[in-house]
Amino acid sequence: MPTRLKLPFPSGPAHDSNPLAPADTAAGRSLTLVVAIMTFLAALCAGAAALVAQTSAEWRGEAAREATIQLQVAKDRDIDADLQIAAGIAEKTPGVSNARIFSRNESEALLTPWLGEGLDLSDLPTPRVIVLRLNSEGPADLDKLRRDLAAALPDATLDDHHLTIARLGDMARAVVLAAIGVFLLVLIALGVVIASSTRAAVASNHDIVDILHILGANDTLIAGEFRRRFLSFGLRGALIGGGGAIAFFAFAQLLAGQWRATASADQMQAMFGDFGLDPIGYGLILALIGGVALLTAWISQRTVFQYLKDADG
């Protein structure tokens, strides 16, 4: 029996507690960083696409809940009396919850974006407008309203905003498609970068794979060890990147709320709403986090299988 020496190492109970694939390596840390950055970028794209889709749905919904009656000024008619008649007809129409007559000043103010401010429009026959609020529960019977108006007031026209809604819809679809396109490109880049980083990280462990192989480990066991280890790297990176993106959107929503009074904030809000992601947006980012972690694990397993296959010919 050899002489026992007192050495400065713990001599407590020994256990097989360490994973076969090393937990903390430079390659693993680099992979985590790469995954975090790429997940953050992909999550920003996914969030932006979800924001635009969500805001465009709000635009269209808002436009669809309104209709407008326009009355032309005619010499032989009392425009204010006609407005009252039209509002009365509208309010009796099923699906219309409210009809508000715009005053002459309010109607003239609608022309300001085209004619500019400071003009005296009192001599012009400015058309008058009634804004109808439609019930959100069911469709309003606008055909009946159109027929009733035509019968009672020949100078009245009804605009149900369908052209505006169609244009808004087209524009929103184009913006959402562009955002999805960018998201898919980032996703492809994410996959490529993760694949090459994972392969590099696995390659840096080839000595370990070799020794496990020669000591009698089967391929499934070795690949499983690396899959678990790389799932942890991928999950950590994806949580950092995806969590960062969620924090970004939450912070942007907070800032948007504080800057609401400024003109530029109004423009931004018109385009992106209040920057608040809906559950679908957050769901997309969470799905991305899970997907990235699984992708990393899957690539590492495939890489190890391929390496073992090549090693044995």
């Binding site: 001599s11 256990h15 370990i208 009698g216 480990a217």
Partner: protein, 236 residues
């Protein structure tokens, strides 16, 4: 247990490193494989561990006929019926061998205990079934007090003894040791040789690759296989 018949090995288009190698190893035998550095000792051992394919000839290992092949896409080896040897068979053959590497090849992120227990862990055995056995072997090779240390903090001799313990823990039928005394002083070299002789006495066939002629003199009963100029000479 193991026989080589006219085995040749060539790397790429270079001349053959090993030519017409013919020898056999009987169960329970002890042999030194010697020759100058670069003679091909490690290559020969790697062919036995199925890490390297011969370019010609036949290797018979524990009941399997392992032929050569010329294509990367062909099987590593061809079995008795001419079919491919399965990857499961390769794993099973490797589990019947214990290998001591010249550069130890211990896993730095594992403790000595974990390194020595590795072959049993890879067989998916429950730790409770082998824990006492591993600790006893570590005591036997004089490493009981450092069983929780990691390889980077140990001396070359300690690493070498740990590598030997790892090769022996699963009670292999064939022990292959590549320059097991290459990194230690003569006293420790003799101690390591004694460990291998103990294993031989326990029934394993042992092949020790070394260029240390002095070490071979310490065990006169061993057969000597000499590699020179790519050919092998056997001295009983």
């Amino acid at each position: 247990m193991l026989s080589f018949e006219n085995v040749g090995l060539r790397y790429g288009d270079a001349p053959e490193t090993l030519q017409d190698i013919t020898f056999d190893i009987a169960p329970g035998s002890f042999q030194f494989l010697t020759g100058p550095s670069g003679a091909g000792k490690t290559s020969l051992l790697r062919m036995i561990t199925l890490s390297l394919r011969p370019t010609r000839g036949v290797i018979r290992l524990m009941g399997h006929n392992l032929g050569c092949n010329v294509g990367k896409d062909l099987a590593l080896a061809v079995g008795d019926q001419g079919g491919k040897i399965s990857r499961q068979d390769i794993v099973a053959l490797r589990r019947r061998m214990g290998v001591v590497f010249q550069d130890f090849r211990l896993l730095d992120h594992l403790t000595l205990y974990e390194n020595v227990a590795l072959p049993l862990r890879l067989r998916e055995r429950e730790e409770t079934s082998y824990r006492a056995e591993v600790i006893e072997l570590l005591e036997w090779v004089g490493l009981g007090d450092v069983r929780n240390a990691r390889p980077p903090s140990l001396s070359g001799g300690e690493k070498q003894r740990a590598a030997i313990a790892r090769a022996l823990i699963a009670r292999p039928e064939l022990v292959l040791a590549d320059e097991p005394t290459g990194n230690v002083d003569p006293t420790l070299a003799r101690r390591i040789l004694r460990l291998l002789i103990e294993m031989h006495k326990a029934g394993a066939a042992v092949m020790v690759a070394t260029h240390d002629l002095g070490l071979m003199d310490h065990y006169a009963l061993a057969r000597r296989l000499v590699l020179a100029d790519g050919r092998l000479l056997a001295f009983e």
